[in-house]
């Protein structure tokens, strides 16, 4: 026998990738296919798009000066052709203020979540990867923060940082310095939940064989943590970050509603509601419109987050 028998040929394996009838789906594509089935998530996405358009596009219709302009002779006007959403106690146009307030609320939601996610990943990754006393120390610290209800902690911290913070100029606009305070304190009190999720993922992933292989080939520890383990636990992080935006917007609204949040003239959906309950009988438009917008954005983000959870992380069903 001089000739070796030909290797068994499989039709599928022999085909180059681009000749396959159905090329293998990427993770993103798979996630999108699953996400698409979630009708409420798609509706949430559309609603979110509309709200962002409202806040950003509205900025071209009204100027910020107009939103902060007050004419006390026009105070507490009901909705009319001139002021679609009516005017507030000192005669500012509520429609224009919801547009600029929405921008700030969204900005606070996004930046607070960036802070939350960074802190959560660092703490969770260190605790989960190194274990031992590092884990012990970081988790006790996490527990300590979780002992006090977040809203109580936020009020104490808002009061603590409520000194004279100068207004800041960002992207050519003036912001009340209290915006930064709110972002920082929401970020600082929200990360423990995320840190626990990341830690749990790290605990199970660090035992897997590809990490053993990475270690055996001499990969450095930061590289293992950030390039090998972290990308594998991106799904729960994305989901809780999405839901975190809604949470941060609500929390901002709570603190501002209680009068310790973002200070006027900078509008947010939360501080537009401050004191509005005194006008519950006489001026429903003062709380109805900002309140509805908060409800819509939180609802939209929660639906998207719910869809993302089903799409990215089918193992962890919504509870």
């Amino acid at each position: 026998m001089t000739e070796t028998s030909p290797a068994p040929v499989s039709n599928i394996a022999a085909l180059p990738l681009d000749q396959l009838d159905a090329p293998p789906l990427t993770l993103g594509r798979l996630a999108w296919l699953r996400f698409r089935r979630h009708k409420m998530a798609l509706a949430g996405m559309a609603l979110l798009g509309l709200l962002i358009l409202y806040c950003v596009g509205g900025g071209f219709v009204f100027s910020e000066k107009y939103a902060n302009y007050n004419d006390t002779s026009l105070a507490l006007q009901p909705p009319s052709a001139a002021h679609w959403f009516g005017t507030d106690t000192i005669g500012r146009d509520i429609l224009a203020r919801t547009i600029y307030g929405g921008q700030i609320s969204l900005l606070i939601g996004l930046t607070a979540v960036i802070l939350e996610v960074s802190a959560g990943i660092v703490v969770g990754a260190l605790a989960g990867y190194f274990g031992g006393w590092v884990d012990n120390l970081l988790m006790r610290f996490t527990e300590a923060i979780l002992i006090i209800p977040q809203i109580f902690l936020l009020l104490v911290m808002a009061k603590f940082f409520a000194g004279d913070i100068p207004d800041i100029n960002f992207l050519g606009r003036e912001f009340s310095g209290s915006v930064i305070v709110i972002v920082v304190i929401i970020g600082l009190t929200s990360w423990p939940y995320l840190a626990r999720i990341v830690r749990a993922e790290f605990l199970s992933l660090k035992e897997s064989e590809f990490i053993l292989a990475a270690r055996a080939t001499g990969t450095s520890t930061p590289e293992i943590i950030f390039l090998h383990i972290l990308p594998n636990c991106i799904a729960p992080i994305v989901v809780s970050a999405t839901l975190g935006v809604a949470n941060a917007i609500t929390l901002e609204a709570y603190i501002s509603f209680l009068g310790l949040g973002v200070r006027p003239p900078t509008a947010t959906w939360g501080n537009m509601l401050e004191g509005a309950y005194n006008y519950i009988e006489s001026a429903y438009w003062m709380w109805l419109f900002p309140g509805l917008l908060i409800l819509f954005i939180v609802l939209a983000i929660n639906f998207v987050g719910d869809g993302l959870r089903d799409a990215l992380d089918p193992r962890s069903r919504a509870v």
Binding site: F152, V156, F160, Y254, L258, F303
Partner: protein, 343 residues
């Protein structure tokens, strides 16, 4: 088990100390306690210095913390404010149950707090009870009739209720059931306070004033429970022992309520147990809107006036009960579920 409990308690104690220290440091910038005490009259500079010395506010934070914790009757303090520490203090410290005097109310902080606890518990326990019973009914029904019309309706409704910021919910309820019902000449619900001062604090009045705040809290926290019960119930119904029970010919009712629900409710015990201590803190926003004289409102009022003894008292009360209930929940869970053994 006893060793496990002991270890948990030993872990919990340093946690509470750390929390108290961090909070105490945060309190240092809460506002000017001397201005709070002075009320509307402006305090003179000399008076301020004397007061600060008398109250020990000129001491370093760590000393103030120590005095707060362990009292100052073992140390010489400056009682008359002349700059010389000459007599022993009178504070007995938190460890011996003395939370100091409220700067606003001028009475022991614990008395101020204790007077609010019943009000908060009436409100919060009622809502919690309604939420649990409602969520059990709805959750079990949704699990049995998965994807039915009512299941979908309830899921959507509870999702909206959960996403709704509680102040918006509260204001809407107020607007519909108090303002508009009054306008339309229907029997309307009261909006603020615990009772009508003209009638007095009768059970009927309190009940009437509770309807709106309880509804707001219940709608808001309903979905977390009902979704949880739905999923644990679904899981239980798919277990082998449920199939066995079915093939044995047990009545359906017995399978659902005795076999499935009993096991499905185990994780719920944990959720409820961990939530209970937070009820003590009351509902900040709800109590504020409905002017309910509970802990949440007490907290907001005293935070904004920088009344450290009361604020610290409330926070420590919550912290201790959270740790206590965490341990208690673990014990109850181990007792209910024989598969779990802590050793």
């Amino acid at each position: 088990m006893a060793r496990y409990i002991l270890r948990r308690i030993l872990q919990g104690i340093p946690l509470i100390f750390i929390v108290s220290l961090v909070l105490f440091v945060l309190m240092q910038n809460m506002g000017d306690p001397l201005a709070t005490m002075g009320g509307r009259s402006v305090t003179r500079k000399e008076d301020r210095e004397r007061l600060a010395r008398q109250m020990g506010l000129d001491q370093p934070v760590i000393v103030q913390y120590l005095f707060w914790l362990a009292g100052n009757d073992w140390s010489k303090v400056d009682f008359d404010g002349d700059g010389l520490a000459e007599s022993y203090g009178t504070r007995r410290g938190v460890l011996r149950g003395d939370f100091g005097y409220s700067l606003v109310a001028r009475q022991p902080a614990m008395e101020v707090i204790a007077s609010r606890i019943p009000n908060t518990l009436i409100l919060m326990l009622t809502s919690e009870f309604i939420v649990i019973v409602g969520a059990l009914l709805i959750g079990v029904y949704s699990a049995l009739k998965q994807y039915s019309l009512l299941d979908n309706l309830v899921t959507t409704f509870s999702f909206v209720g959960y996403s709704m910021p509680i102040f918006f919910l509260a204001l809407s309820l107020m607007y519909i059931f108090a303002v508009n019902f009054k306008r339309w000449g229907l029997p309307y619900l009261p909006t603020v306070g615990m009772y009508d001062p003209r009638v007095g604090s009768t059970p009927g009045q309190v009940l009437l004033h509770m309807i709106l705040p309880v509804a707001a809290i219940a709608v808001n926290s309903f979905s977390a429970y009902s979704r949880y019960i739905r999923s644990t119930m679904l899981e239980a119904l798919n277990q082998d022992y449920v199939r066995t029970a079915r093939s044995k010919g047990l009545p359906r009712r017995e399978i659902i309520f005795i076999h499935a629900l009993k096991n499905a409710s185990l994780p719920i015990v944990t959720i409820v147990g961990l939530d209970l201590p937070f009820l003590l803190g009351g509902a900040l926003v709800t109590e504020r809107i409905f002017a309910w004289p509970g802990m949440g409102r007490l907290f907001i009022d005293h935070v904004s006036r920088g009344d450290t003894p009361v604020v610290m008292g409330i926070l420590m009360l919550i912290a201790v009960s959270v740790v206590f209930f965490q341990i208690l929940t673990d014990i109850v869970y181990a007792w209910l579920d024989p598969r779990i053994r802590y050793d």
